[in-house]
Amino acid sequence: MLAYILRRLALMLVTLLGISVIIFVLLRIVPGNIVDILFAAAGYVDPADKVNLERELGLDQPIVWQYGHWIFGLLHGDLGYSYVSEKPALDEILPRIPITARLAGLALVFSAAIGIPAGVISAVRQGTRLDYVLRVVSLSGLSLPPFWLGLLILMASVKLFGTMPIFNPNPTTWTETIAMYGIPALAVGFRSAALVMRITRSSMLEILRQDYIRTARAKGASEAVVNYHHALKNAMLPVITVLGIEAAFLIGGLIVTETVFNIPGVARFLVEAIRWRDYPIVQNLVMLIAVIVVLTNFAVDLLYAALDPRIRFTD
């Protein structure tokens, strides 16, 4: 077990190092850096100023030096300075994290609260009209672009209340807080709920076909006991994996949803930084996302072993 954990940790470091190299190189093969953009916007400026600015930002150094400088700083908790705001990247990123984390957390709660019961109902009532309706709804959940769902919600809010929810960092009432976070979270979580439902359904169906379920029925257990006591517990394992992976991958939906609802979280910040070629922000944010994904995968694997005593890491 310990050997397995150590091996996984080592592989995680290799993966993260690989990502850092790829992101760094990708961002620097772009023709035109921030200095070009700034100067193009300002019209004609003295070329000497341009050289000075590039030197100040370290852009005149070889790419390997720039990479080493970044990694060295990362290990010391120094993420560099944002090109746009000229503030430390850490100060720009940190305050935005809780907003996105709250949205992601709420979206996960929604997806489990809606997806698991819907999946169980669909499996228990397999082949009925209700099952068909739920399956089509879940497929449509996987098909609706989250940003369009967001726009539709905005449209409905204009129709119903004559106004659009505007993000307020310090909500005063609890209803405002719910509207602020709950509505965008629902727009993001709908897709994950659909995914969770599909996995719950197929996992439940597979379990319900097994011998021990027939045994439970044979000894006279009621439908409810069979479904919820015997089947559901074992059917939850793949669902937990999907929820874990979704937790890390929610960022994709959050990127567009934060843009639609104008929420100042990290996800929207990433898009803005990419538009501005604000390298220090982009590379650190992408690394942050990669760390979250890799750690979540690891945590899910460990949790899986903890929940299912049949799984033992011997490697």
């Binding site: 690989g18 098909s143 940003f147 197929s202 960022i251 994709g252 567009v256 990433l270 982009v282 890799v294």
Partner: protein, 297 residues
């Protein structure tokens, strides 16, 4: 009354046809949702192919006199802020969407198959290296990697295809590698090797065709997410550049401000994206049930 002869009944329904039209009809009758998906996809392909015939307006023609017109008999889905016909833009947008969707799925599949086949067949340090690359690509969500790729490559149609294809590689490579590893141990592969076939020939002629079913299932699922990702990238202004009519970009132009004043600019492109992805998802589910019954849910 005669006893029911199940064999004749099944034969009449076409259950024993292994190929051709009868087989297709048999499967289509048993997968109504999949047939619906196929019909939706055929509709989009026809719209893309016949866009010039279907549309009465040039999707790029600006007509300031009729800007922001609500849907009417002439402009079925209204016009945008430049007076361009929304219906024509959506029909022509099917070309962009399908080009990016099919292009990136195919590109991702080809690279993924090569990596998976080489990795699973040769094993050793090449396998180890490829597995690490796959790990790295898989540690970033699809949209994040595609965003960084488009930022690096610049916005254009071919670059958007590449940017979406790269994140699709890992899952293809994994599926093909796992299948190759399993197939390599089977006796027909051993037989092929023992009669002196070259490794390359065994891999291409005997292993690859047997991985096709899971590949088709996976590629159909990826087609939907590729279309969705293109829409998201264009919505964020980093995908297909102007003046191409991309569904995602139509929504980004019409976002927020037009939610109040011109809802048709928000509703119709969104329906087009959702319907296209819905079609691929329905078709993908049906193909999975037919080609890979073990995964049936």
């Amino acid at each position: 009354m005669d006893a029911i002869n199940y064999d004749t009944e099944l034969r009449r329904a076409g259950a024993y046809s292994t190929h051709g039209w009868r087989r297709f009809l048999f499967l289509a009758q048993r997968n109504l949702l999949g047939t619906a998906g196929l019909l939706i996809m055929v509709m989009f392909v026809l719209a893309a192919g016949l866009a010039d015939v279907i549309c009465r307006f040039d999707p790029l023609a600006v007509d300031a006199a009729h800007a922001l017109a609500a849907p009417n008999a002439l402009h079925w889905m209204g016009t945008d802020s430049f007076g361009r016909d929304v219906f024509s833009r959506i029909i022509h947008g099917a070309r962009i969407s399908l080009a990016v969707g099919i292009g990136s799925t195919a590109l991702g599949a080809v690279i993924g198959v090569i990596i998976g086949l080489v990795s699973g067949y040769l094993s050793g340090w090449i396998d180890l290296l490829f597995q690490r690359i796959v790990d790295i690509l898989q540690a970033l969500p699809l949209l994040v990697l595609a965003l960084v790729m488009t930022a690096a490559l610049g916005p254009s149609l071919p670059n958007t295809i590449i940017a979406i294809a790269i994140p699709l590689i890992p899952s293809v490579a994994r599926v093909i590698r796992a299948n190759t590893l399993a197939l390599r141990e089977l006796s027909f592969v051993e037989a092929a090797q023992s009669i002196g076939m070259s490794e390359m020939r065994v891999a291409l002629r005997h292993v690859l065709p047997n991985t096709l079913a899971p590949l088709i299932v996976l590629a159909t699922a990826q087609l939907g997410s590729a279309i969705l990702t293109e829409a998201s990238l264009s919505f964020l202004g980093l995908g297909i550049p102007e003046p191409y009519p991309s569904w995602g970009r139509m929504l980004s132009e019409s976002a927020a401000e037009y939610v109040r004043t011109a809802p048709w600019l928000v509703i119709f492109p969104g329906i087009a994206i959702s319907l296209a992805v819905f079609g691929t998802n329905l078709l993908g589910d049906a193909l999975r049930d037919i080609l890979d019954p073990r995964q049936r849910g």
